[in-house]
């Protein structure tokens, strides 16, 4: 009895709430889930256009449906549809998760090992596919070779700086000039014979290749050593030359090499006296320029100070003038002939 009464009352309440819900338009009551047509970051122009088109069509369709009396669905109906759809998906999900849960709950320990095994197998598969080991080995070899080469280059560059400059032309230039010279007046036959003789070599004027070429075994942009370092080197060289046993050889070799490089235009700094002079000159120049810089800074600061000074003065003047003006104004008011209110002393004296 009670049950039936309760049920009927609940039913009445329910009907009442349904009517209320019906009064609310669906737009305000039912939350719309995120649609794909809304803009999000990363949409291309085509995607955006498509989305816009879709929304426009949806709008049109929705408007027509709204005004179509047959297709009228009240808020309540929409709610019911919603709940049915969600319950179906929940049922499916529940079934799936039940099965899954059972497994997971059962043997937790072994699945970790299984997973690890699977991971290892998968990694090996992938590595075998891309020949990881071989690739790593070759990469290592290549890196070692590159380092070796760099060291060798550095060593050979150091060596070639002391060695005399060699002048050679490239093949095309040589053949070109050889052709030109093969008809030296009156010596044609002799030249033909002598070219075979290995003592009779031809050498030609210097030829420059393109930009950034290596001239005389040195690249164009070499860091110049400071004069102090050169001085140290030169004094060391002198000492080596004074050395009783190897001194002569060192001296001979050095003088010939120096002569060769000087004749080809490179500057050889081997006189410690001259180097000392230039070190001193550089130092004096640096001192002078730093002094000049200091003076320049001084003058700039002085200018700034002077300007600031005048500025402060003007500000002060203005303040004073303002005050004076005020006082003058007051005085003018008070100095009116026959003004009774002016008192010399305070009021309550």
């Amino acid at each position: 009895m009670d049950d039936a009464e309760l049920q009927s009352r609940v039913h009445e309440h329910r009907l009442f709430f349904d009517k209320l819900v019906d009064l609310i338009p669906a737009k305000f009551y039912i939350s719309k889930d995120e649609e794909e047509n809304t803009w999000h970051y990363g949409m291309s122009k085509a995607q955006r256009a498509a989305a816009k088109q879709a929304t426009r069509e949806n709008l049109k369709k929705a408007k027509r449906d709204r005004l179509d009396p047959d297709k009228f669905t009240s808020t309540l109906d929409l709610l019911q549809q919603r709940s049915e759809a969600s319950s179906k998906t929940e049922a499916k999900a529940a079934d799936a998760s039940e099965n899954g849960n059972a497994q997971v709950q059962g043997n937790r320990a072994t699945t970790y090992e299984e997973l690890r095994e699977r991971l290892r197998k998968r990694m090996e598969e992938l590595r075998a596919k891309r020949n990881a080991d071989a690739a790593a080995a070759t990469a290592r070899k290549a890196r070692n070779w590159k380092d070796e080469k760099k060291k060798q280059n550095a060593r050979s560059q150091k060596r070639s700086i002391g060695v005399a400059a060699q002048h050679t032309t490239t093949q095309p230039a040589e053949t070109h000039k050889k052709q030109k010279l093969a008809h030296v007046g009156g010596m044609a036959e002799n030249v033909e014979k002598e070219i075979g003789d290995k003592n009779n070599t031809f050498e030609f004027g210097r030829v420059k290749m393109g930009l950034g070429s290596e001239v005389n075994g040195q690249s164009k942009k070499r860091r110049r050593e400071s004069k102090e370092k050169l001085l140290v080197k030169a004094t060391k060289l002198q000492q080596q030359m004074q050395d009783p046993e190897n001194g002569e050889d060192v001296r001979l070799k050095h003088t010939w090499n120096a002569a060769l490089s000087r004749s080809s235009g490179e500057k050889v700094y081997d006189d410690p006296g001259l180097l000392k002079q230039s070190v001193k000159r550089e130092k004096l120049k640096r001192q002078k320029s730093s002094k000049k810089w200091g003076q320049r800074k001084e003058t700039v600061n002085q200018l700034i100070d002077a300007k600031q000074q005048t500025r402060q003065e003007h500000i002060k003047e203005r303040k004073q003038q303002k005050l004076e003006r005020k006082m003058a104004k007051r005085e003018k008011k008070l100095l009116r002939p026959g003004f009774e209110g002016r008192r010399e002393t305070f009021i309550n004296e």
Partner: protein, 331 residues
């Protein structure tokens, strides 16, 4: 207003660093001591040879010393000195590199002047722009053993500016200097030629018509075709040798005679000398002697000489210091 404001374009001298690497070698050709007239003419010829990177109207007075030239050489960018001097034995040519470079001393055994060579030729050549570009240089036979030969090679190679293979215009290579070294006699032949290109394989009358624009004389011929087909293929002096003809590429620049196959003709101009390398010194006409053809000194003698020199230097410095002290005292 902002658009017409001056725009600073060359705020940094970007070409400065490039220019340093491509300094053109310049030379001074100077006579030392009183030279006989023939040698004075040789001096002028040498100056002409070294054009354009030399002072062709260099005025030297008797009172000018080496130091004066050295002082001027720095600012002017002069890199080589060629000094011609004369004793009753022979004339000497010294090739030195400024400012501290080695000096090569050559003894001139015999020489011939420009004018004399021109007189021996039937048609001496002197085209307009011959001396507007530096000559090429070829050194033959210098490959033997000996540091002095190497120094000679480098010295001569660097007297003339280097040729940039990419930008060179073949029309500017109009002269060549040849130095030939003879191992037995140790003599260096110095020759100076002008280069000209002659088209090969063209008959003489045609050549004259096309290149010299000479109107042909058709008096003896019946038909114009006879003029083209008649006489000889090339001149007698034409060279048959394949080795001396050059296949010029199409991008040969503004060469005047641009036949596809040309022969290179050299005609001698300029002085001719036979010299012998006598001395190589370390400094500019000073310094230690690195090589001497005739005089060989033992190491002890060299050491003794050096000692003497150092002693003299020390003495001189001492004397100068004393004098200065005296002067200061007297003031």
């Amino acid at each position: 207003m902002a658009r017409t404001r001056r725009k600073k374009k060359r705020t940094q001298n970007a070409l400065q660093s490039e220019g340093e690497a491509e300094k053109v070698p310049r030379s001074f050709v100077i006579g030392r001591g009183k030279l006989p007239p023939l040698l004075r003419q040789l001096l002028k010829d040498l100056r002409k040879l070294m054009l354009p990177h030399t002072a062709v109207h260099l005025k030297e007075k008797k009172s000018n010393s080496m130091k004066d030239f050295l002082h001027v050489a720095g600012p002017l960018g002069v890199t080589h000195f060629l000094l011609l001097s004369h004793t009753d034995k022979a004339a000497y040519l010294r090739v030195a590199r400024c400012p501290r470079g080695p000096t090569l001393t050559f003894k001139i055994h015999s020489y011939a002047l420009d004018a004399e060579i021109a007189r021996t030729q039937i048609r001496p050549r002197a085209p307009e722009g011959l001396f507007k570009n530096s000559p090429l240089i070829v050194l033959a036979g210098f490959g033997g053993e000996g540091e002095h030969l190497k120094v000679t090679t480098t010295m001569f190679q660097n007297i003339f500016p280097a040729i940039n293979v990419n930008t060179v215009n073949l029309a500017t290579c109009q002269r060549v200097v040849l130095l030939n070294y003879d191992k037995e006699s140790k003599l260096i032949d110095f020759r100076h030629y002008s280069i000209s290109l002659q088209p090969v394989g063209v008959s003489r009358p045609l050549k004259k018509l096309v290149y010299n624009r000479k109107i042909p004389d058709l008096r003896g011929l019946g038909d114009v075709s006879e003029f083209v087909t008649k006489s000889g293929y090339g001149s007698e002096s034409e060279v048959e040798d394949e080795g001396s003809t050059v296949q010029l590429s199409s991008d040969v620049g503004h060469l005047k005679y641009k036949a596809p196959k040309s022969a290179v003709r050299l005609q001698e101009i300029g002085p001719r000398m036979t010299m012998q390398l006598v001395k190589v010194e370390e400094g500019l006409c000073s310094g230690a002697v690195l090589f001497h053809e005739y005089i060989k000194k033992t190491p002890e003698e060299i050491a003794a000489l050096k000692e003497n020199k150092e002693k003299r230097e020390a003495l001189r410095k001492q004397r100068r210091a004393e004098q200065e002290a005296n002067v200061r005292r007297k003031e």
